[in-house]
């Protein structure tokens, strides 16, 4: 019955039909995580809104850490804090693993809206960093293909400019934190507003990698110590 309705809806819905509730079996993880789909899409691919991130394929431990932080209030975003407030660890872990396994197609990249110099600055920060300001390259932790690193570092491809700017800014003002030592905090404190804009513009204009699977943590030594990698 649910399946029939779901398929009918799927056919009828418009451009955002991957953000409309649908599932094939009530007793399944797919049905249980319908609470996520209007913002993160049916397969975690994100939606049209620039503020809701793609969550599919990010490392399970990263997603789990975020869910726990939202539940416990150490990461602040009222709609998420409310939704997961009364969910136990084991279930949040299962939700995280559900989305970590998914590999939906990436949405079309957004053409950059900044000038070429800004874009070049963004690319430099992502690929090589800025030795003068001791800013390591994004790619040194978030992976060569920017698909993240197990267990706790998220991929950066498929995220929109508004989301990236929002997160880096809230890190700088202390609204978002990671487990100590908070490497991202150390980095973002060295970045100017212009740096943040540049990085977000370049990242959001990149083509998706052929394999978005997060890299293994054993491939590189971290330039800064990160609590979430322990």
């Amino acid at each position: 019955m649910a399946f029939v309705v779901a398929s009918a809806l799927h056919a009828a819905a418009g451009a955002q039909d991957h953000a409309v509730p649908a599932f094939s079996k009530v007793d399944s993880m797919e049905a249980r995580v319908q609470g996520c789909v209007t913002c993160h899409g049916q397969a975690g691919q994100g939606t049209n809104s620039g503020y809701f991130p793609r969550i599919a394929g990010k490392p399970a431990t990263y997603l789990y850490n975020q869910l726990v932080a939202f539940r416990d209030g150490t990461r602040s975003y009222a709609p998420m804090n409310y939704l997961v407030a009364y969910l136990p660890d084991a279930y949040l872990r299962e939700m995280a693993e559900h989305y970590a396994k998914l590999r939906p197609p990436f949405s079309a990249r957004t053409p950059p809206t900044v000038d070429p110099a800004t874009l070049a600055r963004g690319q430099a920060l992502v690929v090589t960093g800025d030795p003068a300001k001791t800013i390591p390259a994004c790619a040194s932790c978030h992976g060569k293909g920017l698909s993240g690193m197990e267990p706790g570092i998220p991929g950066l491809v498929g995220l929109r400019q508004t989301y990236i700017v929002g997160q880096l800014t809230s890190w700088r003002v202390g609204e978002r934190n990671a487990v100590e030592p908070d490497c991202m905090k150390r980095i973002v404190m060295r970045m100017s507003d212009a740096d943040i804009t540049a990085v977000a513009a370049w990242l959001s204009s990149q083509e998706a990698p052929s394999d978005p699977t997060p890299e293994s943590s054993n491939l590189v030594r971290m330039p800064f110590a990160c609590g979430s990698q322990r």
Partner: protein
């Protein structure tokens, strides 16, 4: 030679028998059973009992900040009169209740008077806890003494004048506080009395399910008749009206499930009640959950209350059609084309009193913000509803809530876009 051999065998045999007998009679054997064996466990038993009762009273919910050390206090409690900061009730000598004794703790529970003689604000539900027996109060005290002490200074309340004058509480107490332990009703069963004791005492259900007036008091005559929860902006439905959450027509199992599991064949808990189930009611024994259900079902039901007039139920056909379209696209997959849902995973909307009751606040909030029921021991992986606040505008929210309130012979009344707009301005909580 042969004789000597036989003699040796016989001697060995006798020696073995003697050794066996000696062993049988002289072996140390198990420790003799101690007469006071149960007494050595008494402390553990009392503490276990106290932990169970503290959960039934949901002490931890208010006395702990999110992600904080249990019972260390500091949580801000917004009231219409200003912020209260809940005190540290860990056994820390300086900042907690480490220097209290069981008599002082019982006086606080029973009369709302603190160790130093000051009057407690009624955000502490002593008007309910007064019904708790001395033995149960002592068990809770023993449990609280057993938790790790946390050094955490209490924060001063931020109440507006004149509410910051504790002396004025004498007036409040005269109006709204009746001291006294629960007295069993001999005409009712032991099960009913156990349920009444838990609901009226530790459960402090009436704190939310009885309307609070301008003085922050609940009238006994209106007990369990429902009301808006101050500063949380959820509506706590009446437990006595069959048009709200009155349970007169419910199966006992469904009531017990709603309390203990968080979901049932009839309805699901969200919002503040999800917190109560998560922190408190899921830990109840099956017997206690059933006892509460038996008592709640027996509350006097006001069936006679007139349903809204057909005039009040008139809906603009265009609005109804808009609501139907949205329902079919966004809602029907989970709640069914006929509103029957897939209970207990996905709640029914047809015939669901929480949808049709006079206040549409909870339904509107659910459409705007979605929600997950609590993950409980018996339902560790609940199904969730997504938010629609970013997808539906005020007209659409009003239309779809109107639709579920009147479709399938539901007896609710239409909802206006400005009602959706008011609730959209609030943070989800």
């Amino acid at each position: 030679m042969r004789k000597a051999f036989l003699f040796a065998i016989a001697a060995a045999f006798v020696a073995i028998v003697i050794a066996g007998l000696l062993y049988f009679f002289l072996r140390p054997g198990p420790m003799p059973r101690q007469v006071n064996a149960t007494e050595t466990n008494a402390t553990t038993q009392v503490i276990n009992q106290g932990e169970y009762l503290a959960r039934a009273g949901d002490c931890v919910a208010c006395h702990t900040v999110p992600n904080g050390k249990p019972f260390s206090g500091g949580r801000a409690m917004a009231t219409p009169f200003g912020n209260l900061y809940v005190p540290n009730i860990t056994p820390d000598d300086e900042t907690g209740i480490g220097k209290w004794n069981a008599d002082e703790f019982y006086r606080m529970m029973h009369t709302g008077i603190s160790r130093d003689g000051s009057l407690l604000y009624p955000a502490m539900p002593f008007a309910s806890y007064t019904k708790v027996t001395r033995a149960d109060s002592d068990a809770i005290f023993a449990y609280l003494m057993s938790v790790p002490p946390v050094r955490h200074e209490n924060r001063k309340h931020e109440l507006r004048f004149p509410f910051n004058k504790r002396e004025l509480l004498i007036g409040w107490r005269t109006l709204y506080f009746k001291e006294g332990e629960y007295v069993a009703d001999p005409k009712q069963s032991a099960q009913w009395n156990r349920g009444a004791y838990l609901v009226e005492g530790l459960g402090h259900c009436s704190m939310c399910h009885t309307a609070i007036n301008a003085l922050g008091g609940s009238k006994e005559s209106q007990e369990f008749e429902g009301g808006m929860i101050p500063n949380q902006n959820w509506y706590a439905p009446s437990l006595t009206s069959n048009r709200e959450a009155g349970l007169g027509h419910w199966e006992i199992k469904d009531i017990a499930d709603l309390l203990q599991v968080g979901v049932s064949q009839r309805a699901t808990v969200y919002g503040p009640m999800a917190e109560v189930v998560y922190n408190s009611l899921q830990y109840l024994s099956d017997d206690d959950a059933t006892a509460m259900a038996v008592y709640l079902k027996s509350l006097p039901q006001r069936d006679a209350e007139a349903p809204p007039t057909s005039q009040a139920r008139l809906v603009d056909p265009a609005k109804m059609e808009l609501g139907r379209k949205i329902y079919e696209k966004q809602c029907a997959v989970c709640h069914g084309a006929e509103g029957k849902g897939f209970p207990p995973a996905l709640p029914p909307l047809a015939g669901n009193q929480s949808i049709t009751m006079a206040s549409p606040v909870n339904s509107i909030r659910m459409v705007l913000n979605g929600g997950y029921p609590p993950g409980t021991k018996k339902n560790p992986k609940p199904h969730g509803m997504p938010p629609f606040s970013h997808i539906l505008n005020d007209d659409e929210v009003a239309a779809v809530v109107t639709y579920i309130r009147v479709a399938w012979e539901n007896s609710g009344t239409p909802v206006l876009p400005n009602q959706a707009n008011e609730l959209r301005k609030l943070l989800p909580e």
